[in-house]
Amino acid sequence: MTTTETRPAVGAPSGVQRLTFAKAINAGLRRAMADDPSVMLMGEDVGRLGGVFRVTDGLHAEFGSSRVVDTPLAESGIVGTAIGLAMRGYRPVLEIQFDGFIFPAFDQITTQLAKMHYRSRGALTLPVVIRVPYAGGIGAVEHHSESPEVLFAHTAGLRVVSPSSPAEAYEMIRAAIASPDPVLFFEPKVRYWDKGEVDLGPETGAEAADPAILDKARVVRAGTDLTLVAYGPTVATALAAAESAAVSGTSIEVVDLRALSPLDLPTVAASVRKTRRCVVVHEAPVLYGAGAEVAARLTEECFYHLEAPVLRVGGFHIPYPVAKLEHEYLPSLDRVLDAVDRAMGF
């Protein structure tokens, strides 16, 4: 049968390079596969095509069809078989082609993948990464622009993360693959073409990825008057809002949550104790969203520091609208600034 192939990372990209978000993930996958022969990719069209967003481009040619697996078109089957492969010692990295297609796998993810370590009292670990191109902004058809991340953050046993830049994407995909826990890795597809500097490290002998980096939120812009909390696609929106507000004299601090599970509240709370105001921005619907959790916890942790209620900017309680209306639906720069004004007005 097929055998595991290991190839040296000779000629692998190295050093600091300017890459798109998609290429940064690709580089992270390549590095992880070169470093660890148990890492394998599975998904629909991830092989010769390189995925519909080309995130796995070239990996099939480099690592072969035993490690880059074009699966049958069945999401539950992809996750279910990955669970079995992980039990056997493999580290499957799965691609769910689009956010709206994860639901056939919802049962396997929430009743099986999330709970196997718990129900086996630690005898089994399932180091499975599920990559999900998610969120809107690319003018897509129905079921191709959704933000279902909180459904998974609500399930104990899963880690849920979302990078916001090429550099973060490279570091975080490697950390996710190194994690012994299942990780839902939400990739903001509107950012796939954004470019940024990524440190790919030396050609060989790069430092092992540290899964602990997934747990930490990060202050990506310092400020004194208000904290904008965002993750994934809305971090760029928040940074743009901060830039814009600075012109009119409002100093905004931007915190990139990076992870929804675990939620790094101490980093957010430290920022809010300083700025005393907070607005949370995400594409997912506001109702029961991550913003609700952040707001509730800030109220518990920093009640006497707050000068204004924690406000939220996000999706409406409607199905994702048609592409021609998504600009009005999404938390745009203007809507974020509107919330900033309201918070500053208290």
Binding site: M1, S76, I83, G84, R88, Y90, S120, S261
Partner: protein, 376 residues
């Protein structure tokens, strides 16, 4: 187009090597595999079937006494379970559903541990890797995909078709007639087929999914589905331990040697209720129950061994003592299973620290400690 002439419960064409009266009948296809069963092995099978039956009776009684929250009997399915489990090699892996107690016994799992789940002190109860016997799965039909993935891993490890019987591996998954309606079981067949995974899909058609008969799941034999996926299938008399053994041994051999997956349908009968919460008198006839009582798998093997003169009284007496001892040990050890420490619910949620779980655990500890010394 013509519909299948056979219904899903037809006994026509089943592989059968022992009649209900215990007479051995010849089978050109399976005699070779059956011939590896020595009388010692047959007595071992009989012993395990009797012990599995005793386990069922004791566990049901423990539930009635309030010692277990629930119990799912395997009553009547002993031949399907023990016959197939005897065909497994030590290195093989089994993915059961939730009433494969007979298989657990053969795989060396302490049956006391099986009751941890039903007592409500553990979601699992044993080390799945130590026994090659994975944890029970209560979400019907979720686990054949895990078995398929595991088998794909075995392929990648180069442990299929090397010709070394000590290391070549196969994976076997048990599921019921009801679960074959689940998408996941069908997806497992798709993945197993395209990967030619070393897998045996073992369907125990016990005729009832709680109150729904197999005719609610299918209008033709369930085994007929597999060839549509490119997976050969076979229907076997699930109350005939010799036929079940032979059919499973052939399927496992095919898997181990790189021949790909096989679907086995063992037609048997759930003689008991779905679980201790169920009441079969609401939905099935006593005539049907009586019909299948006369096809009791344990009686069948007993009659066969007696006819061979291979079931001496001393063996029977020792077995009765062993069953009594098992019953007593089950009663004692289950009653002694204490409540886990409350703090234990926070363990093993994640393999690495998770700030939210850690904070909640810490809060809970402080909350509990606040009652110390009080009358709570």
């Amino acid at each position: 187009m013509t519909a299948s002439p056979l219904g899903p419960l037809s006994e026509d064409g089943l592989v059968r090597l022992l009649t209900p009266a215990g007479e051995r009948v010849a089978s050109a296809a399976y005699d070779e595999h059956a011939s590896s069963l020595t009388t010692d092995t047959l007595r071992g099978m009989y012993r395990d079937m009797v012990l599995a039956r005793r386990f069922d009776v004791e566990a049901t009684a423990l539930q009635r006494q309030g010692e277990l929250a629930l119990f799912a009997q395997a009553l009547g399915q002993e031949a399907a379970q023990i016959g197939s489990a005897y065909a497994l090699a030590p290195q093989d892996h089994v993915f059961p559903s939730y009433r494969e107690h007979g298989v657990a016994l053969v795989r060396g799992v302490d049956l006391v541990d099986v009751l941890r789940l039903f007592r409500g002190v553990d979601h699992g109860g044993w080390d799945p890797l130590a026994h090659g016997f994975h944890l029970y799965t209560l979400v019907v039909g979720a686990h054949p995909l895990h078995a398929t993935g595991y088998a794909m891993g075995v392929q990648r490890d180069g442990l299929v078709g090397t010709g070394d019987p000590a290391t070549d591996m196969a994976v076997l998954t048990y599921f019921g007639d009801g679960s074959t309606s689940q998408g996941d079981v069908n997806e497992a067949m798709v993945f197993a087929a395209v990967n030619q995974a070393p897998l045996v899909l073992f369907c125990q058609n016990n005729q009832w999914a709680i109150s729904e008969p197999t005719t609610s799941q299918a209008i033709a034999p369930i085994a007929n589905r597999a060839p549509g996926f490119g997976i050969p299938s076979v229907r076997v008399d699930g109350n005939d331990p010799i036929a079940v053994y032979a059919v499973t041994a052939a399927a496992l051999e095919r898997a181990r040697t790189g021949g790909g997956p096989t679907f086995v349908e063992a037609l048997t009968y759930r003689m008991g209720a779905h679980t201790t919460s169920d009441d079969p008198s609401r939905y099935r006839s006593s005539e049907q129950e009586q019909y299948w009582r006369q096809r009791d798998p344990i009686d069948r093997l007993r009659l066969h061994l007696e006819a061979l003169g291979e079931l001496p009284e001393v063996f029977q007496a020792e077995l009765a003592d062993e069953a009594d001892a098992l019953g007593e040990r089950l009663r004692t050890e289950v009653r002694a299973m204490g409540r886990p420490a409350a703090d234990q619910m926070f363990e093993h949620v994640y393999a690495t620290p998770h700030a939210v779980v850690d904070a909640e655990r810490e809060w809970f500890g402080a909350y509990e400690a606040s009652f110390e010394g009080s009358a709570r």
